[in-house]
Amino acid sequence: MSQEHRDRSDRTGEASDPPHRQTRWYTGGQYVPLLSEKRSKTVSVESSLPNDLTRDELTLPALAEPEVARHYTRLSQMNFGIESGSIPLGSCTMKYNPTFTEDVAAHPGNRVHPLRADADKQGILHLLYDLQETLATVGGMDAVTLQPPAGAAGEFTGIQVAKAYHDANGDGHRSEVIVPESAHGTNFASASMAGYDVVELPSNENGRVEVDALEAAVTDDTALLMLTNPNTLGLFERSIEAIADIVHDAGGLLYYDGANLNSLLGKARPGDMGFDIMHFNLHKTFATPHGGGGPGQGPIGVGADLAPFLPTPQVRETDDGYETYAPEHSIGRVHEFVGNWLVLVKAYAYILRHGDEGLENVSETAVLNANYLASRIEYEVPYGPFHHEFVASADADAGDVAKSMLDHGVHPPTTKWPEIVDEALMTEPTETESKRRLDDLAAAFNAVAEMDADDLTETPRTTAARRIDQASAARNPRLSWHALDGE
């Protein structure tokens, strides 16, 4: 494994890039027109179908390829990706995406239809099998399904599996899922979608699960406790074994939210901590590009007792190769096929590239980078010891701080969450940022920390758009170009 994105040395004297700047998209009231505003065309629909089945006309943009290319190239220039600069969004794990994985995803062997017979898609099944077994090892789990198409879908799948397991054990009355107050919003929403009442668990003064409060919250109705570890403050739940015992003694199950698994590679496994179910965010831990909001992929791992309830199909190895099968008590499907195949391929390639040592190095460098960055910024970081992310407390409105950081050419951290920290700046630099980048990030934090609160509200000044009126967007929703006619 080469060292291409590791920078532990204390080399100095390397020059920083100037701050990232997007072209201001307006001068004097101009903006990039919509395609429909550039050239729209209404065509009469001529079809060999009878008229009662067809539309009369279709109105859509009609531009030649050069203009289409220029339009989207211009839009890309008004967008900030990981190759534009650091994106230290806490919990989001925005690390550099190795470009070679796109080449692997473009290989013709990916162009396989899911309804082929097993014997005709051995390459696909081979990769699915290897990846599911690898993830089981990384998670300390007995079985893995790759099917859920995102982290939240993984949560929903895991909860459905837990429900089926409880039902099969005559425990169908269990109606509650316990979620710490600082958990990701998806935990609450997924539990609710699956029909559970959500019981919110307060944190203690150290930012961790309050074991006494958990004891009080756990009852005969408890189906599941959902935990992120390290939690959203970056803190390891040191009482995890006691927590697991409390939940298990009451007949409940323990669910691991894998959003922060990228800090534990080679160091600890959820299965060893007592978790029964977990999801992996492949797009976070294993560096597949986030694509402006997706696609991701959220496989789940489970212990042996829960394996018969996993979604169908699963893949197993036989003497002749690989085959699909339905687990005995499968909950069925959560996606029509296997979710986002290309994300699976890219994550698999990333894992193979790194190997054991490289993966452990990912977590070590991520944790070191977070600690280094925190040591360089002037804002208080109230909770520790943290791992791959930390939550600083701004002494001004965190949202304003974020907008001001934009003027320094960096993407700001996640703001105002978790709420346990006042004016939270939840920061996760990831392992792919060099010391120089971390120093530049710290400089951006610190420059903003010196600003007056009034000046903060005037920012950003140098971005493609100035600060955007969110309230007006919600009050007067205009969600398509049809709603803009006349504007």
């Binding site: 220039q77 081979h126 402006g292 205009r478």
Partner: protein, 431 residues
């Protein structure tokens, strides 16, 4: 850096009790980039080299080169969700244009940025119906030809709130409107019908289905896709309240079932919509600007009372679909859709002319796909095609095993090979 944080080894920064420390190995060897590519591509090459006529919910159309070249620009590909709209105007505008495309195709007032696939979009439609029509019952009606894969996803989505899912009959390959009229009652919250349906037939009487839904205060959800909707009557015009389906027929070639879930609905349901919405606003300089909006519906704000748990979605695929649609323009979209009509029609004519085949089984106009009757067991035909390098599939059509073929612009030129493979069977049978 180690000095700055006061440790000599990064491992000292891990605050993990010894009792749960992992001291084993994963057993994964590291590889150079070249080795990794060779290894993964070697695995992928283990699949058979077949010409596919499959379909069944995952369709292949030619994706122009410009879609890759533009969407793979790292500013798009490697960006995050647009929580800082001032530096993500480009992606937001692209998503706004995608929403606009879906609004134009469906005729409905609101379209979101994406769902995972057509099956999860249908699941979300059932949940939306349950939220907006709580007074009028909790049963979702789906046609009896709904693919099991889609039904299974729907069953999981409706399990939590206890929504029942029941089927209504089809006959002669399309919705049996009279039987549906007998089945529907005021306990029904949503009626679903797809066009093209699972047999590839364009449903001729969806206006009657819409009327039945209306009569019983149920929502009418239509399933379709972005190419078919380019020529079909906009579902809003015959009473659709929600349209779900696949928009990945644009921008996304065969990729082992990846999808781009399309979701549009009437404007009345705006605050009950699942998923991300992009709207326009103004910035401090008074210029038009785009932003994620109505986020109080979403999980990161509303938590257990959110309209859906969806967070990560299919945004990059929506970008690709928008680029593909822009490249085609309205003329190109209509032409592509028309090719989906004529391609399967011509293939069926040729297959029907072979001894021992009836194609298509059902009357009516087909789109991309059709079912075929065979004198021999369909599975035997599939196996013989496979030996000739052609992939077709069987479907269980109401208890009868039938052959299904799918013809689009990308395999139309290979229909000769399909015909040869089927005809070879006839020769074998004749011996």
């Amino acid at each position: 850096m180690l000095d700055a944080v006061g440790v000599s080894d990064p491992d000292a920064l891990f605050d993990i009790p010894d009792s749960v420390r992992f001291d084993g190995d994963y057993g994964i060897d590291a590889h150079s980039e070249r080795e990794t590519r060779a290894a993964v591509e070697g695995i992928l090459d283990e699949s058979a080299d077949l010409t596919e006529f499959l379909g069944g919910g995952h369709y292949d159309h030619y994706v122009p080169s410009v879609v890759d070249h533009l969407s793979l620009r790292s500013e798009f590909l490697t960006s995050y969700t647009q929580y800082q709209p001032e530096i993500t105007q480009g992606f937001l505008q692209a998503l706004f244009e995608f929403q606009s495309l879906v609004v134009e195709l469906t005729g409905l007032g609101v379209a979101n940025c994406s769902m995972y696939d057509r099956a999860t979009a249908l699941g979300e439609a059932a949940l939306l119906a349950d939220r907006v029509r709580q007074s009028s019952g909790e049963t979702v009606l789906v046609p009896d030809d709904l693919p099991d894969r889609v039904r299974s996803v729907l069953d999981n989505y409706t399990d939590g709130p206890g929504i029942g899912v029941d089927t209504y009959p089809t006959s002669e390959g399309t919705v049996d409107v009279d039987a549906l009229a007998d089945r529907v009652d005021d306990a029904v919250s949503l009626i679903y019908a797809a066009t093209p349906n699972a047999r590839g037939v364009l449903e001729p009487h969806l206006d009657a289905v819409g009327d039945l839904a209306d009569d019983h205060d149920a929502l009418f959800c239509v399933g379709s896709d972005a190419v078919a909707l380019s020529v079909l009557e906009p579902p809003e015009s015959y009473g659709a309240d929600i349209v779900v389906g696949d928009a990945g027929v644009l921008g996304l070639p065969t990729t082992y079932g990846m999808g781009l879930g399309l979701f549009a609905c009437r404007e009345d349901f705006l605050r009950q919509v699942p998923g991300r919405l992009v709207g326009t606003s103004e910035d401090d300089a008074g210029n038009r600007a785009y932003t994620l909006t109505l986020q109080t519906r979403e999980q990161h704000i509303r938590r257990e009372r959110a309209t859906s748990n969806i967070c990560t979605n299919q945004a990059w695929l929506a970008l690709r679909a928008a680029i593909h649609a822009a490249w085609l323009g309205p003329d190109g979209l209509v032409d592509l859709a028309e090719e989906c009509v004529t391609g399967v029609r011509e293939a069926c004519d040729r297959i029907d002319a072979l001894d021992g085949f009836t194609a298509p089984v059902y009357d009516g106009h087909h789109f991309r796909e059709a079912l075929i009757d065979t004198d021999e067991p369909a599975s035997a035909v599939v196996e013989r095609c496979r030996e000739a390098g052609v992939a077709v599939r069987t479907v269980d059509d109401g208890g009868t095993e039938r052959l299904a073929v799918c013809v689009t612009d990308t395999n139309r030129e290979a229909v000769d090979a399909l015909i040869d493979a089927l005809a070879a069977e006839r020769e074998v049978s004749a011996v």
